[in-house]
């Protein structure tokens, strides 16, 4: 049997190409014929071509006490250097400060980060409208990488790496400004930064932190001689007294970690883990919409007024994980997460327009699976965790029709909805897939003589459909990880699979069997559990 290959966790259209991340590599496909053009692989020895060259410390210092739970709560770029840093592997997949309250849980969460790959895994992709640049967020090295499509004389394609910038915290969602010149990056710590798409090393030295009004706090301050912040007079509790004593013992140690030296600005922040960010142009103005684990969707103004919050879309009762603003109906926002429903918002006013039951549709799929496998159980406790929402505009009988496609973690199906003129979502089709849907992208082409509306979906070729943990057996038919569907009228029909490259081997690590699962399925972990982090008195 052939080796199991990594499935694709992110898909992104990039001009006339489709870029698809599998593990730590990126495949580029032509949209003409969906042929594979090239594969970018992580350089074996990590050599950041730009940005900070020093490697992250990899030794984990012993935690001093349970209070170290707040270690990771150091404000991203706004804080003086952290005294201690955690092993990058254990940081960030959890919401700040989660651990320490329940060590076991925290450890589960930290495993969620480790992907079992040799190189850092790609967690988000973005592409400029112009189609020339691709941006990738990588997990373990907390980096943002910018690539450029290069077509050589002989017609071959290459995705060339232009830069790597190591962010204060793990970036997890990406967007771009209207003019394609600035990256907007949300991190797991709750902060959203802007950084120029392109930067060169020479600028790098001088153009350190910008200091626009909204980002003063992100400015790097020269290390000050150590002065305890508390005086004996200020102390009025035992704990503060202890803190002061500890503080006095501290010396002027040189900072272990320095701030990023490239230009970056803190735009906004939630005290929660961010899950998605989109930038929208609406009525000539720009806005940033950010979603978090604590059920919030926040609407802020765009740069340079990103410090002004316009409003919130409140109604989710579980984590929010995906946001989708349909291009041609940009007054609307479709959001999904751990709730049973997809929500449709008028995001600028913060009003909920409609909701549609996604769980009911998911349950049908899971029941069918049970029947097919003569198993029982999973369908009884189906949980929705929306991992992708995509919009397609179709030519319809009377004008146009807007279609929304949603996928949910661990569910082998595409759920197709009609977004009505009244902004309701009507479930019109469920497409069963031979593997769990991991990512979905819509590709409309108007260029060719016959306009087509395609959907490419990535499926989990390793785990059994409906399961996020059970691997397929050797006797199962191997499945191709990328599938192409096309709209015929309103109906989505299968066309073919994409001929994908070799990809990294999906290693089975005996010691950490859950690692791959945690790379592909990290949303359900965001759900708050009853009894989690019970307050200790």
């Amino acid at each position: 049997m052939s080796k199991l290959r990594m499935p694709y966790q992110c898909l992104q259209r990039s001009g006339n190409l489709l870029v698809a991340a599998r593990g730590s590599s990126i495949d580029s496909f032509s949209l003409q014929d969906y042929s594979l053009l090239s594969t970018w692989r992580f350089p074996p020895a990590q050599e950041p071509s730009n940005g900070r060259t020093s490697q992250e410390p990899t030794n984990k210092l012993p935690a001093e006490n349970s209070e170290s739970s707040v270690d990771i709560a150091v404000g991203a770029a706004s804080s003086p250097p952290a005294k201690r840093r955690k092993l990058s592997d254990s940081e960030g997949s959890q919401k700040p400060g989660d651990e320490g309250k329940g060590k076991k849980k925290a450890n589960n969460r930290s495993d969620a980060v480790a992907s079992g790959l040799d190189a850092p895994a790609i967690t988000a992709l973005a592409a400029t409208k112009g189609g020339r640049h691709v941006i990738a967020a990588t997990n373990e090295d907390k980096s943002i990488r910018v690539f450029e499509h290069v077509f050589k004389q002989d017609g071959t394609h290459q995705l060339r790496s232009l830069s790597q910038r190591i962010m204060p915290k793990r970036p997890c969602a990406l967007a771009l400004t209207e003019d394609d010149a600035t990256i907007i990056a949300a991190d797991k710590f709750g902060d959203v930064y802007s950084l120029p798409l392109l930067f060169s090393e020479s600028e790098n030295q001088t153009a350190a932190n910008g200091s626009s009004p909204s980002s003063q706090a992100s400015g790097t301050t020269a290390p000050k001689p150590f002065v305890p912040a508390a005086s004996d007079l200020t102390v009025h509790s035992q704990r503060n007294l202890k803190a002061l004593e500890n503080q006095k013992r501290q010396t002027n140690q040189p900072p272990e970690k320095s701030e990023p030296t490239f230009e970056h600005k803190l735009l906004l922040g939630h005290v929660s883990m961010l899950t998605d960010v989109v930038r929208v142009s609406f009525q000539g103005r720009s806005y940033i919409i950010s979603a978090d684990r604590d059920e919030h969707i926040r609407v802020s103004r765009g740069i340079p007024q990103a410090h002004i919050i316009e409003g919130f879309c409140l109604g989710h009762t579980e984590f929010v994980s995906r946001l989708c603003v349909p291009d041609e109906r940009s007054n609307l926002l479709i959001s999904g997460g751990g709730d049973d429903y997809l929500f449709v918002w008028n995001w600028l006013s913060g009003t909920l327009v409609s909701k549609v039951d996604l769980k009911a549709a998911v349950e049908v799929v899971m029941r069918d699976l049970e029947t097919e496998n003569h198993s029982s159980g999973p369908a009884d406790h189906v949980k929705v965790a929306v991992s992708g929402i995509s919009h397609v505009r179709l030519p319809g009988e009377n004008g146009v029709e807007d279609i929304i496609i949603a996928i949910s973690e661990g569910v082998p199906a595409l759920f197709v909805f009609l977004l009505t003129p009244e902004s309701h979502l009507n479930h019109i089709q469920t497409i069963r897939l031979p593997g769990n849907a991991l990512a979905v992208v819509s590709i409309s082409s108007t260029s060719s003589s016959t306009p087509s509306n395609d959907i490419v979906v990535s499926i989990d070729s390793i785990h059994k459909p409906g399961s996020t943990t059970d691997r397929r057996s050797d006797t199962d038919e191997p499945v191709d990880p990328l599938r192409l569907y096309r709209f015929q009228g309103r109906e989505l029909v299968p066309v073919s699979t994409l001929q994908s490259g070799d990809g990294d081997e999906a290693l089975e690590n005996e010691n950490q069997p859950g690692r791959l699962t945690n790379l592909l399925y990290n949303l359900e972990n965001l759900r708050k559990r009853d009894g989690e982090a019970k307050e200790v008195e």
């Binding site: 739970s69 709560a73 704990r239 939630h270 005290v271 410090h307 919130f312 409140l314 982090a533």
Partner: protein, 278 residues
């Protein structure tokens, strides 16, 4: 935790009998003590409304409910199912109110304004609630303290769940936990990004009041509000003319402690500016 179990039992017994017997006597603080810090990043099993519209304030300010219970008049916009509306909105928030000294000192001075104390520690919140209940009973004839209430909340995460845009005219941040260590600064209640949330819930012209005995924290708060384009520092003469400032200095529990230790008190007020055109 063998000792604490016993203590907790005593404490529960006290609170139960206290609540049954008297509504007039002030609660005893020692039965409501709790360790000094709660982690603002963890989940805490908090309860909070999904949105300000779904918040039912009627049990917090019963004297201000516009449709009395049993009244046939039902709100026509039944979108906010079963929520009984108040005749006015909460306008003043004391964030991290502790044992409620500021709240109960301010309530009689602003009798027509609804004041809310927000506190993350359960025991401390309960104390303030019991304290307000007793004060309301003691002042049943004048109706004082009906305008003050306290609830448990992690304001660093859930402020927009309680208040709609520009709802508040004043926010008090009195003697916030200093979080001395640099790596805990994200736990501070004032930061560039949190200030955007304060700007969201406070109306233009509204005031943020800060006081601390930790000079470094004072400088931190000043730096972060000064650098935020939505705020401007209130000049000292105006600050000193504001009656809330003296209340803040003398009536908060922390303010009293600092007084006893003859410690310094640093005050800074910030005005919420109009948003520029967008």
């Amino acid at each position: 935790m063998a000792g604490p179990a016993n203590k907790r039992q005593k404490r529960e017994e006290y609170k139960n009998s206290y609540r049954e017997e008297s509504t007039v006597a002030l609660p005893k603080k020692k039965f409501y003590r709790q360790r000094a810090h709660a982690n603002p990043f963890s989940d805490h099993q908090l309860t909070y409304p999904v949105s300000p519209e779904s918040m039912d304030w009627s049990s917090y300010y019963p004297a201000f409910v516009s449709t009395p219970p049993g009244s046939a008049v039902e709100d026509s916009n039944a979108a906010t199912d079963g929520v009984r509306k108040l005749s006015q909105d909460v306008e003043v928030a004391d964030i991290g109110c502790g044992f409620g000294g500021l709240l109960v000192a301010l309530a009689p001075k602003l009798p027509n304004t609804l004041l809310l104390g927000m506190e993350i520690r359960t025991q401390v919140t309960e104390y303030v609630q019991d304290r307000i209940k007793a004060l309301r009973a003691q002042n049943a004839d004048t109706g004082l303290y009906q305008n003050a209430a306290c609830l448990r909340a992690n304001t660093m995460k859930f402020l927009p769940n309680f208040f709609k845009k520009h709802q508040l005219s004043k926010i008090f941040l009195c003697f916030p936990d200093p979080h001395f260590k640099a790596r805990k600064h994200k736990a501070r209640i004032v930061s560039t990004t949190l200030n955007s949330e304060y700007a969201y819930v406070v109306r233009p012209g509204g005031i943020i009041y800060t006081i601390t005995d930790v000079e470094d924290l004072h400088n931190w708060m000043v730096q972060h509000f000064d650098s935020h384009p939505s705020f401007a520092r209130v000049p000292e003469d105006e600050q000193e003319a504001d009656e809330c400032v003296s209340v803040m200095r003398t009536e908060t529990e922390e303010g009293k402690k600092v007084e006893r230790n003859k410690g310094p008190k640093f005050v800074a007020l910030f005005r919420r500016l109009e948003d520029p055109e967008w």
